[in-house]
């Protein structure tokens, strides 16, 4: 069936050209309705009111010129085919437009009704085809992702059963085992764990593909994370007689990243390094401020392995990349590890790269953003280009009563943090990211644009909300205190250089507040076990 031309929107400012084109159109096609507008603004309004089956577009209009014209139209109506009417002297521009998604171009003056009809019908047809292809492609990806996600879940069920029975036997719950039986079961368990890791990678890669990979950044000490990762991988390195060493620069400030994800990336890189380094070799994990951008920290894992040939280096982050000449005769993973690792780093706003010298080793590096309190504070503690009148730091401390409830405690803290966000005014208060302290209690900080006289309202709100958490009162104690950060009105009494005639820019003053907040937080985290310290703050309130 011949596609219907239907309604054509003609955008042409020259009345002579417009009439000619309209005439040619009506000659060629009996079923066509043409509406003509002279300006881009009229065209955009018309597209708002009605979707035509095609746009015929002159690029040079009174209110728009050249490429800008078709960009605006295509942005407004991405699914409507566009055919350009060009003059003889701007054919190059028209061809360029075709590269960018315009369906066709016609040179004014050469237009016959036959040619015009053909161009219109083909453009409509092609647009419909490419649209249905795009929809089919999206459906296919969606189907693939759902399929993989479903399969991974289904695979887990029998795997769980195998895992449970193998560990039952290994733990001697079904009777004593001979030493070689124990060995066989351990081998089986190792394979179960490998399979589990593969299923997890498959799901993660599927998530990365569909943009569903999530990171929850908080303030973290990368040195500490590196130590943790190295400790976790120590046994694997020791088994191959490798020296696994961590050398983080101790002076690195806090980083803004998801600690679980960073450990995941580090373990992936260290695991690879161990795998590709022969016995007696060395693996070194380092961290330092990134040389070319001091707002980033660079973490790297170097090994003394055999290195990666230059031609393969760009491919290592590809999905399903597997080393062609595996050293260990071990089964590898799915070839998704580095792909997922790089996706995670990218989500943090960092980047990952690999460098290698064939025969002497490889280095995998990635960057993470440094935590900048000032950047987070700027929109909150300033108003109309000025620092707010008074700023207070509220400290919310949650201490578990019994020994940790494992995942449940972590979740309690998360819910507490979620609640805190509901207790504040988002435009003038800020719940600081969790500081990731390693002690049993969790401390959250809120920077509030209020003064000591009014902060009690917020404290009461926080207490009421958090204590209403189910099971919280039975399992933990809550302490909410506040202290003054900045209050120029009272400072003025002591020093006259603070308020209106402070020579520093707003940014500098925000940085000053951020530094002050940071100092208090660091101090309070260090002095955590000191009860008296906390009492004084309590009294101060």
């Amino acid at each position: 069936m011949e596609p219907e031309a239907g309604h054509i929107l003609l955008i042409e400012d020259n009345p002579g050209d417009a009439d000619l084109v309209r005439l040619r159109l009506e000659e060629g096609m009996s079923d066509v309705r043409v509406s003509c507008v002279p300006r881009l603004s009229d065209a955009l309004a018309s597209l708002d009111a009605e979707t035509p089956s095609l746009v015929l577009l002159d690029l040079n209009l009174p209110d728009s010129n050249g490429a800008e014209t078709f960009h605006r139209i295509m942005q407004k109506a991405p699914n409507v085919p566009v055919v350009i009417l060009s003059g003889r002297n701007d054919e190059a521009l028209a061809i360029n437009a075709v590269h960018q998604g315009v369906q066709d171009y016609l040179v004014k003056g050469d237009i016959t009704s036959k040619q015009l009809e053909r161009a219109v019908r083909y453009a409509v047809e092609r647009q419909a085809l490419s649209r249905s292809l795009e929809i089919a492609r999206k459906q296919q990806i969606e189907f693939k992702n759902r399929f993989l996600s479903h399969i991974s879940h289904e695979l887990r069920t029998p795997l769980t059963c195998i895992h449970q029975y193998v560990t039952l036997l290994l733990d001697g719950l079904a009777g004593p085992l001979a030493p070689n039986q124990t060995d066989h079961l351990k081998t089986a368990l190792k394979s179960v764990n490998q399979l589990h890791a593969m299923i997890r990678d498959l799901l993660e890669a599927t998530r990365a593909d569909s943009g569903k990979l999530r990171v929850e950044p908080r303030c973290i000490d990368v040195g500490e994370l590196i130590q943790q990762a190295v400790a976790m991988m120590g046994p694997a390195a020791a088994a191959k007689h490798l020296a696994l060493e961590a050398l983080p620069d101790q002076t690195i400030p806090l980083v803004y990243a998801d600690p679980g994800r960073v450990i995941e990336v580090l373990i992936n890189l260290i695991d690879n390094a161990i795998k590709f380094t022969p016995t007696e070799g060395a693996v070194l994990v380092q961290a330092a401020i990134f040389e070319t951008d001091p707002t980033l920290v660079c973490l790297s894992v170097s090994d003394s392995g055999r290195g990666i040939p230059a031609e393969l280096l760009p491919k290592v982050f590809d999905r399903l990349y597997q080393d062609p000449g595996e050293v260990d005769n071990n089964r590898t993973g799915l070839g998704l590890g580095l792909y997922i690792a790089r996706e995670i780093v990218t989500l943090h706003g960092g980047s990952m790269s690999a460098a290698s010298q064939l025969g002497s080793g490889s280095t995998f590096s990635f960057t993470l953003p440094l935590f900048s309190l000032a950047k987070l504070l700027l929109p909150v503690i300033t108003f109309q280009g000025r620092l707010r009148d008074s700023i207070v730091l509220v400290r919310v401390e949650l201490t578990p009563l019994a020994n940790s409830l494992g995942g449940s405690w972590k979740e309690t803290c998360q819910r507490c943090l979620d609640l805190l966000r509901r207790c504040i005014f988002v435009d003038k208060d800020l719940v600081l990211p969790s500081t990731g302290g390693s002690g049993p209690s969790e401390t959250f900080f809120v920077v509030a644009s209020t003064d000591m006289a009014h902060v009690d309202i917020m404290i009461e709100r926080i207490r009421a909300q958090v204590l209403a958490l189910p099971r919280l009162q039975a399992s933990s104690t809550l302490r909410v205190t506040a202290e003054k950060i900045y209050c120029p009105a009272s400072d003025d009494l002591r020093s006259d250089d603070l308020k209106s005639d402070d020579p520093r820019s707003v940014e500098e003053r925000v940085a000053g507040v951020a530094a002050c907040v940071t100092e208090i937080i660091q101090h309070s985290l260090k002095s955590k076990p000191n009860i008296n310290q906390k009492e004084t703050h309590e009294n101060a309130n």
């Binding site: 879940h153 289904e154 887990r156 069920t157 795997l159 769980t160 059963c161 895992h163 449970q164 029975y165 560990t167 039952l168 733990d171 719950l173 079904a174 179960v192 589990h196 799901l203 998530r207 569903k212 999530r214 019994a402 020994n403 940790s404 409830l405 494992g406 995942g407 449940s408 979740e411 819910r415 189910p470 099971r471 039975a474 399992s475």
Partner: protein, 147 residues
């Protein structure tokens, strides 16, 4: 079953754990492990019998799968909250489903912990013991009070 465990000066009543999972093999394995760790166990294989069994047996803790026939895990969690005698039984969810999208909802629905299968046995037992210790008095009070 190894009976020597029961005679080694254990408390008279061992905490009773209900395992709800539609996979009988996994139920069996989990029960074996729990009994070896001095817990009594009862089982249910679907959402409907989970509630019936909970009413009858009054377990001290429930290990609950999410994908279940006759009312999924979330329905079970919701229904448990409807009965005053069952509402305070701690529930640990053990599921093949992803934490993403499920963990938060699980905890909001009243469960105390979320584990993805296959879970680490020691971690799971740790959370079971911790929550029984924390909620032991509460469970007792409810049991001796009017039902």
């Amino acid at each position: 079953m190894r009976t020597e465990n029961k005679t080694e000066g254990q408390p008279l009543t061992r905490p009773k754990i209900m395992v709800v999972d539609d996979d009988p093999d996994l139920r069996h394995a989990l029960s074996l492990r729990l009994r070896a760790n001095n817990f009594d166990t009862v089982n249910a294989g679907d959402g409907y019998s989970a509630i019936a069994m909970a009413k009858k047996e009054r377990p001290h803790l429930i290990i609950l799968d999410l994908g279940l026939p006759a009312g999924g895990g979330f329905t079970v969690l919701k229904n448990l909250r409807k009965y005053p005698t069952l509402a305070d039984i701690p529930v640990i969810v053990l599921t093949a489903r992803d934490p993403e999208g499920n963990e938060k909802y699980t905890l909001e629905s009243g469960a105390i912990a979320f584990f993805q299968k296959p879970a680490d046995n020691d971690e799971l037992l740790g959370v079971i013991r911790a929550s029984l210790q924390a909620g032991w008095g509460l469970g007792r009070a409810l049991q001796s009070g009017p039902a």
